[in-house]
Point group: C2
Chain length 815, copies 2
Amino acid sequence: MSGELQFHTSHGHYWASYSVENRRPDLAGFAVSSTSVYVCLLEGSTGATPSEEMNGTGNLMDFLDEPFPDVGTYEDFHTIDWLREKSRDTDRHRKITTKSKESYWELIKSLLDAWSGWVVMLLIGMLTGTLAGVIDLAVDWMTDLKEGVCLSALYYSREQCCWTSNETTFEDRDKCPQWQKWAELMTGHSEGAGAYVLNYFLYVLWALLFSFLAVSLVRVFAPYACGSGIPEIKTILSGFIIRGYLGKWTLLIKTVTLVLAVSSGLSLGKEGPLVHVACCCGNLFCSLFSKYSKNEGKRREVLSAAAAAGVSVAFGAPIGGVLFSLEEVSYYFPLKTLWRSFFAALVAAFTLRAINPFGNSRLVLFYVEYHTPWYMAELVPFILLGVFGGLWGALFIRGNIAWCRRRKTTLLGKYPVLEVIVITGITAVLAFPNPYTRRSTSELISELFNDCGALESSQLCDYVNNPNMSRPVDDIPDRPAGPGVYSALWQLALALIFKIVITIFTFGMKIPSGLFIPSMAVGAIAGRIVGIAVEQMAYHHHDWIIFKNWCRPGADCVTPGLYAMVGAAACLGGVTRMTVSLVVIMFELTGGLEYIVPLMAAAVTSKWVADAFGKEGIYESHIQLNGYPYLDVRDEFTHRTLATDVMRPRRSEPPLAVLTQDSTTVEDVETLIKDTDYNGFPVVVSRESERLIGFVQRRELTVAIKTARQKQDGVVSSSVVYFTEDNPQVAEACDPQPLKLRRILNLSPFTVTDHTPMETVVDIFRKLGLRQCLVTRSGRLLGIITKKDVLRHMWPKKTKLYYPKDLSAPPSDCK
Amino acid sequence: MSGELQFHTSHGHYWASYSVENRRPDLAGFAVSSTSVYVCLLEGSTGATPSEEMNGTGNLMDFLDEPFPDVGTYEDFHTIDWLREKSRDTDRHRKITTKSKESYWELIKSLLDAWSGWVVMLLIGMLTGTLAGVIDLAVDWMTDLKEGVCLSALYYSREQCCWTSNETTFEDRDKCPQWQKWAELMTGHSEGAGAYVLNYFLYVLWALLFSFLAVSLVRVFAPYACGSGIPEIKTILSGFIIRGYLGKWTLLIKTVTLVLAVSSGLSLGKEGPLVHVACCCGNLFCSLFSKYSKNEGKRREVLSAAAAAGVSVAFGAPIGGVLFSLEEVSYYFPLKTLWRSFFAALVAAFTLRAINPFGNSRLVLFYVEYHTPWYMAELVPFILLGVFGGLWGALFIRGNIAWCRRRKTTLLGKYPVLEVIVITGITAVLAFPNPYTRRSTSELISELFNDCGALESSQLCDYVNNPNMSRPVDDIPDRPAGPGVYSALWQLALALIFKIVITIFTFGMKIPSGLFIPSMAVGAIAGRIVGIAVEQMAYHHHDWIIFKNWCRPGADCVTPGLYAMVGAAACLGGVTRMTVSLVVIMFELTGGLEYIVPLMAAAVTSKWVADAFGKEGIYESHIQLNGYPYLDVRDEFTHRTLATDVMRPRRSEPPLAVLTQDSTTVEDVETLIKDTDYNGFPVVVSRESERLIGFVQRRELTVAIKTARQKQDGVVSSSVVYFTEDNPQVAEACDPQPLKLRRILNLSPFTVTDHTPMETVVDIFRKLGLRQCLVTRSGRLLGIITKKDVLRHMWPKKTKLYYPKDLSAPPSDCK
């Protein structure tokens, strides 16, 4: 090609515009000498002299040298094109590298750009850690507020209140004169039926108040703040656009309502929502750097790392967070993101430790220290707990999805506030009488995980003590259970049933709600019950063959707390289908590195059992329920179809809407844009040969024509739109000025042949993150396959693939 | 199309043969009525009646109904096609699913097939764990054999010997009368210069014997058993074929020589080679199941999991193993493989625990228990250790690669046995006088990691004791260093220099050699030195502002062992550039979950510093050095080139070797195969239009023509080869019988346009694991890009891209 023509594309802003074009005229068959055509056109077009036109950015028809205002952005509820985003980033990177050689200032700018990724991670980590600390402190205080108040300082939680008091004895760490229950404060009596009823009433009232506030705030200010957010974040990370889902308003409201929701005593946790909060932080800091704010692909790398930071602070488990992001949440996770996630998780955990909300200087949420190893024979109850976890996971997913579907389709969905109020009321009324459900769920889990030391005052540790015991504190042999343990068992059994039922109805309501903690609670209760049973069996039947080898009388052989831990892992695994990240989170959570094998055994069993009832975990189920366009990497594709069976247009449909490279007029294009709602149009050589030359985005086409009509003289409805590389030949000077749009033409559209098996197509869509793919046969364009076509083909029964309408649009400033 | 024609492809064995063909004649322009042609051909071709021909598998020209014997296998030193392997597996899976509905037996077979993956993992885990246990025991025994022998039982190592003895006191666990040094045994004197020289001499002699045996065995029986194997395994996992590299012989010889090499006292570890051993086990068990043995893609999934099992037993770190496989080794790592790796690593760790080679029932190699937390100010020395680790990594890689290049290019490479002997001699002579280099490297690391308890007899713990100390054993305050510590510091400094220099020359010799342990030793020595320095500084200068806040007099504030741990992590990170897996391995190795933040800080710093000197870790550097065709996902591609610049043929070269769909004769094809060495040939409509219709593999073409010439009457050199869907029209009955080969035609070859930027092409090659990709423009075939072209383009300076010739071919039974 001539030098002039190369010139005008040498500053290419678009991914398909490169300076090197048609270097192989011999093979390509485009050996048209275009210089003369070019000069001819120069004369007949604008008022400028040729030399003016040749200066600067050059060619008269490619006036679109500056990027269009909106180019590179996507419409709401659309899918991004990963390859395109990646190319745009490489272009940007190249430009900076080239510039950096020009001056020291540019060099510094390029270094800043290279380090901006780490800076963003640092900021995300710090903000996420801080927010998590604040949430922890606020939840502690408000949970205790339901029962009483600290007289010495109103803003102290019970633990802080009694910790700062001098009158606290070691045995009764939870009781001190400064901390008064409401009944005591109001009537002066702390005992008796009247006081109990008053406390009961106020407990329920506070719970209702908190949950009402939570649901109202969500409804009014940020509808996207509800739920755990993980299904949506998975979808967003896979390349979907949901504007406002990670906005500032969502961040603010989700943080506040999360505190309210957890404090209200509902059966929900703060872990899932914390991931959403962290991703909002990530999105917030993305906007500081154009590298991330203007590139949806790069932004998603940051969000993946932010998700890791979220789990890191939710559990105090930085490594677990990175693995959770990798195994459960992320879609595109290059090694670079792994390292950055690692750094963000580290900073977040570190910040949280500096805030020290648990007051024990430990990162670990439920720190346990067991003193006995586990024995091979114990694998049997561990695996049984795994089976229980799998069954619970399957039951929970079925039940919860059925209930959520009912909510979407019946009148129930119309009254979210009422629903929350009713569920909170039921939860509070049923929870108060049982000490194991009255307290916060994380306290419950902590108690269940704990080994019974000599100083433990819990009812669960009410064993019959051997009077002549002279052992050190840590090494207490197995003992017969006392009456406290038996009554605790009954209460735990009731709590188990209550938690199982209420959690199914709670998850998915219009308040922030995570299910890590409720799932773990279910498992921990079941595990502790099994653990105590095994312990008592071993104590009373030392001579049984299974106990004989490892459990001598007077030895400490069974640790019921370990069973609770294994049970918690199994139930969490059953619901989420995590494996590696689950085990890592569990041992980071508890510090129990020695118990990796029991945890792994339970996690793998639980996954197998739950998978037998359905392959999808809870998050994937919610994604399917909501019809998000998410291509799960785990779905096995077993249809025996070809690209030709899936592509549009189908046999009965009208032919594909295409543009030709040199025979469509501006009016034709405008009509096509008006009549269809496709995201883009293939460009072919001619309607007869149907040989594909490229693909043009609807958005860019619209903007280009609009700009040309405004700025370029002579472009009228009858102007011909050209996508060819060589200049169009205009027969007569009076013909309307042609519009050359090669710059917005993607010259490397992704194509497959009509014989390509759909499994390969699905693989390509997943791995390359395509939006659409053109189907050809021997170079002839036959049709198009979009991501939605692929999803429709994979989920034949799911009807709608649009964003659910019951989530109304966010307020205008929530972007 | 007519039903008859659909019929003959309905049992398609090859990935591109599907029953649904040309459903859209309107768009495709192939609306030829072929039924009459078909019948005409039936009459003029074979002796069989039409009805006979129509039975069973039908068409007369598609006699190739049984798979060719070698189809689906690849040549040695070639790259596999991941998409094709995946498709073949899906086909296989579909066939089994269909069959499983036929009978109970088939159902059971399909269930067995579904579970075979887990069975393979179980077997791999068990064998790997067993081998690791045996290696550990043998290394222990043989390392001690260099110094002396156990009189009560010759097969006991020193520790076992003294452990079983009654006369061992707690203070001198390493000394007992049953264990005698060689001099004592031979001369009766255990002290004196003569005994020292004799012990020295025998130590060197044993070392030379072991290393000579090791290198000879490798040379004679399994040349592939040398080195760490990780670079090769990375390459194999990315899709390269190296036959025999994971064979039975390699497994056997590597296991034996690994023991010899480690026992010889060379500065090498057993961790890397254990990954190779585990992958050999994986390969071995793959051959039991046709699902894995016949599919190179599935086989690689198993190998990824086996690598995880290898690291799991090398360090007793199952989670770290999975992460190592993910971060460092694997190329294609779907979630399913993650779960399976997890399971294999679990079983392997469990088996190793059952064998219990360390005699302490712990999985953990270097178990440590520190009693003090770390303080914020300590981050400064930790980060300095990170910097040291990064510098060491950069130095090691540069030095080692330079030395290995010299070995490849000079006479040095011709005498591998001599090289090993000389290095062993130097190592043994220099190592014996220094107590820190004389013992095995893992013992050294273990001692460096250890905190100085009250009972510690090590020279490193020779602190000046406070006489009126009445504290518990665990809580020893900081004390001034005694003379033993100072002399230990000197010896450690000498050991550090020795290890740094000798490791550079050791790694890469023709014996099994890993570098995890030497790297960790370098870091641990440096870390311990820094730790003691900080400790003494804090003791003597309590009033300095940096110590004031956290280090009161009489408190235990600095743990030198923790510094050793951080230093080890930093150095290992600098060499391998691991981050997440490194930290996980380190805390699984030591049980130090509380020290995640220091470890992470050191790992990240070390990576940053080392990356500043060169992006590649040691394994990638060795891959580049050897010219393996490995597409690193980490390499950033910044060239600004298009597919057209990279594709073959270049402008000056002859045109691409193509076949036409219906005008090439058998002779033409045979000439083409003889004259070229391409892996396959594109098939076009005609030489004039150059419209691409498919791609045919060289191997399959060769086999198909050979089979046809033998079995099918009438196929002669002048027979026309047809790739069309409809039957060829033969003008006259006397024309030679045509040969139809559509079944071996891949109808969905991967294409990109000539304008596709190379970064996209590289991305596609990486993510989809392609072997080649055709370049088209508007449906016209322009050229081809192979993986080698891509690599040549990315590594412009690297010359050869073939397998190195200095590794001679394995013996014939080593497959």
